[in-house]
Symmetry: C3
Subunit: 297 residues, 3 copies
């Protein structure tokens, strides 16, 4: 009798321990002034109170798919394999874009409209498989009358069920070809000593300009700490900034208010003013249409 009780205990405990693995990370353009994000978390708690729910950011500028793509790329690889990301930046809600779950070769999952949001993680983490969410199965019960909050009823609900182990990846829906919609942008490349790249995003809090040019490419171009670099920044065909800047290891190496190039925490070339705001001062923005050219002076 005692033994039966004991095994009943153990059964519930084992359930509990396995569910604990579920990590859900949510990104939206909803802001946090209203209850939309909280509602998504409530739905996740209904799926499983054992889920660990985190915010990526909810301050993606409304409808800015490119920035959503970049934020996923910036953080995903620092999370354990098995983490499920839900991203809801969806200007086309109700239109014909597909709702998908991307599994990357790194073992991360991304639940999102297939509208370009997966441009960067699909490239850097690699596509293991893409499945289309079958809304007949993976949709919050009682939500069929709601036409507009796919973030809650489909993406969040599916992501929570996947993270909690209620469904397996195979149960998301039918498998699609191994590709996602990609937004075109300047890939980093070295040509005749000139490095070209994209400005995917600004480090907004400080006004630093981040590029997609990896430190490795700088090394290939023979650039070393202490070198002076000739930098040009373009918005489409318009040059916005030209300057010659030192390439330094840390901010502390230049005087306050001085411009500099450095390697940021993602190991990419970046540009800043020490204790200042480079982007504001030089009206530099970011996105697929922003391009940077760098060469040794």
């Amino acid at each position: 009798m005692k033994i039966r009780l004991l095994f009943t205990y153990l059964f519930f405990i084992s359930l509990h321990v396995s569910a604990q693995k579920g990590i859900l990370v949510i990104q939206t353009d909803f802001g946090q002034k209203d209850a939309a994000v909280a509602t998504m978390k409530g739905v996740a708690m209904q799926v499983s109170a054992q889920l660990r729910v985190f915010d990526l950011t909810h301050e993606i500028p409304p409808f800015n798919i490119w920035e959503a793509a970049y934020r996923l790329e910036q953080t995903a690889k620092y999370w354990p394999a098995g983490t499920v990301f839900v991203s809801v930046v969806d200007p086309g809600v109700g239109s014909e874009r597909k709702s998908v779950v991307l599994k990357t070769k790194s073992g991360h999952y991304f639940v999102s409209p297939d509208n370009g949001t997966l441009t960067l993680v699909s490239q850097t983490l690699g596509i293991a498989a893409v499945r289309e969410i079958d809304e007949k199965v993976n949709r919050l019960k009682g939500s069929a009358d709601s036409y507009t909050f796919h973030g809650r009823d489909v993406y969040d609900y599916t992501g929570a069920r996947l993270a909690a182990g209620v469904i397996k990846f195979e149960q998301v829906g039918k498998r699609l070809p191994d590709s996602v919609m990609r937004i075109p942008f300047q890939q980093p490349e070295l040509l005749h000593g000139v490095i070209n790249g994209n400005i995917p995003v600004l480090d907004i809090q400080y006004g630093n300009v981040w590029t997609n040019i990896p430190e490795k490419l700088l090394k290939e171009a023979g650039v070393h700490f202490g070198d002076m670099l000739k930098v040009t920044i373009w918005e489409d065909q318009t040059p916005v900034y030209r300057g010659i800047l030192p390439f330094v290891k840390t901010f502390a190496e230049v005087a306050p208010q001085k411009e500099m190039c450095y390697v940021n925490s993602l190991l990419n070339l970046s540009i800043a003013i020490n204790l200042g705001n480079f982007a504001n001062q030089h009206h530099v923005g970011s996105g697929p249409e922003w391009r940077i050219e760098v060469m040794k002076n």
Copy 2:
């Protein structure tokens, strides 16, 4: 001997598993620039490190009880029964308003000053019982000298204890009559083919105008997708907007920058400009004093 050790293990585990059910959701008008919200979470962790603590929002405009009421209403039903909500929007702190816990028929708990914050959830989720917080029992130890942070010392502390199962609902304090303070506003109603309702809140991130008119009432009035609707919006006695708009299923059905009516994620009539900001463009606000009139054109 081994068996005793084993049962000691099991005892602690069973404690642990039962405490895990506790979900605490916090709403305030404190913002998140200072440490007030974090302090409330610290107190919750002192009550039980097993609690799962979530933010509803902390961006309620200071002292805006109506918006606090609306945010609770917007999210509560999406959380599991047993969830405890703590809401601290309290312009009357230190005055004679009562501190209460409302249990709704849906099984949710709301810890709040009884100042109108419970207007909407008490109506839509139903009152099961209301109890007044007995501060002699349910107040953070050592906080008796503090006169102004009831949010931390009384509401949060009581909510955390309730969520963690440290106290039962009956131990909150003495039972009050089954009613709470309610702010008057235009209930949704259909009269001679004209639908009247309230604008409880804006979908601020996008500037959409949300009403309290349920889809069901539109159907009763014979309104169908594809119809043109004549809409008038009033602030008290002043007409602020008049227009004739299509009633559509999804944003994608109208051209960018076009006005439209749709059913929002709460299944209520809403008004928007596709990829634009209706509220800003037409200076429409929200609150108990905002009214909307809709009829088929």
Copy 3:
């Protein structure tokens, strides 16, 4: 055989239960518009998925060490002993400031650059010991090429490992003398009936002015509720405000828009306009250079 299985279960469960104690509280000046904070949480989840991770605030004004110090002080004592705080406000990243973990006599841990951030908690909670983070051991694997995101690679990683019990305090690195860098400011003092103090911070959401003058010192000076107080506020040598205000228990005791003194939730003297914004109206700021003088009228 069953018994072996059972003990295997119990082994994993015991691991699980002990890891559950880990509470990690993160403060930065990063904002939440990008993925930096989320990345720190991802690293924490890699260390242990059992950690309970909280935000103190991420809205410290960029590089404002004083405010970082104050926010820690404001909240720390409300968290259980054993809580690990990680604070990353680090204008000197890459310079010679040390990376330390402070253990206070209250049993809390603070992981931070030693740049003044620990000024207040070291004073009020007491220094038990200070250790310098040994980056050879306590640094995220694979991050050695990254020069600038110590917040993620060193502070957060070390804090997560400490909170999860992966390392003990003694394994942080070598012990330093029992002191931290302190920013000078006006300590609260009573001299010939005049009380002097500092304005460490504003209650920004409401515009209330908080001082470091404890209620106890007011009592020593013979100040009682109902008294009128003569108040002068200085920024360095410049007087910014002079007034005579009632000392009241609650906001509700004065009419709307009236100025008043009260005791805030930290049991310190504070100044406000009931339902108004004192700081904005009188251009009062905060920081080590702000001083207040109070006496009975």
